[in-house]
């Protein structure tokens, strides 16, 4: 492992500790939901990290189809795996948050349903990669799914705007100024940065593994 990757790992670990401090120490108890709202500092950064991952799948897929360079395919495959991981965390933490606030673990609300579809599409993307042995064909098929699957990202994000939903509308990344109180927004930002750093660290390690796997196959 490269020294820079190791340093990134330590930086991500430090950022996560600071993020926990911000979520449980610095951020105030929310006025209506009480302390259960602290799940937001994990739930929201998780889906934003997943968006980033799937955007990289799109980039890697387009790059691979345009150039046929294995590096683009490795980027797409690695980011896809991490996108599924972070989407899974989003769904589970959202479900745990939903039980005390909505009274149910799950409902077929537009945001929840589109997020579940996003999770299934990219799980299918990973399964497809596992089913095709020939690297060039695997990269080509996966790139098509990676590009088509990205169409679901705006559907997930804007679902709360387009359809009547139980899930609250976007309070960040929306067109209007965020109504979140400054300490809550700061804690959210710190945790977003922390999960992004962790994502970049995982991505660097996963790409390195993909390179070793390709080397082992070619040898």
């Amino acid at each position: 492992m490269r020294t820079s990757t190791r340093a990134l790992g330590w930086l991500a670990a430090l950022a996560l500790v600071i993020g926990l401090g911000a979520a449980f120490g610095y951020a105030p108890r929310e006025a209506v939901q009480g302390n259960v709202q602290r799940i937001m500092y994990l739930h929201v950064p998780s889906i934003l990290t997943a968006y980033l991952a799937f955007a990289l799948v799109l980039l890697g897929s387009i790059g691979y189809l345009a150039t046929r360079r294995a590096g683009w395919d490795r980027l797409a495959a690695s980011a896809g795996e991490l996108g599924v991981l972070f989407t899974g965390i989003t769904i589970v933490t959202g479900s745990i948050w939903g039980k005390p606030t909505w009274g149910t673990w799950w409902t077929w609300d537009a945001r929840l349903t589109s997020t579940a579809v996003l999770f299934l599409v990219y799980t299918g993307y990973l399964l497809l990669r596992g089913m095709v042995d020939e690297p060039e064909r695997r990269g080509r098929y996966a790139a098509v799914v990676g590009i088509v699957g990205a169409a679901n990202i705006p559907i997930v994000h804007f679902s709360v705007k387009w359809w009547r939903a139980l899930h609250q509308p976007s309070t960040i990344l929306g067109p209007e100024p965020s109504p979140i109180a400054a300490p809550i927004a700061a804690a959210l930002l710190v945790n977003w940065v922390a999960l992004t750093l962790l994502f970049v660290y995982f991505l660097a390690r996963r790409i390195e593994i993909a390179r070793l796997e390709d080397g082992a196959r070619d040898a």
């Binding site: 259960v36 991981l85 962790l198 593994i209």
Partner: protein
């Protein structure tokens, strides 16, 4: 201040953070093990070739 505030539900908060921690640590351990086995395999091949 609203009239009714929800109870704290700390159990749900710790469950959410706990599940996420388990998922992330498990994935990290998977990456470490996979990288280690691939490097060992590569070194084994290089040793045989030499």
């Amino acid at each position: 201040m609203p009239d009714k505030m929800m109870p704290d539900h700390w159990g749900y908060v710790f469950a959410a953070y706990g599940v996420a921690a388990v998922a992330l640590v498990t994935y990290w351990r998977h990456l470490v093990r996979r990288a280690r086995s691939l490097v060992a395999r590569q070194r084994g091949k290089e040793g045989k070739a030499a």
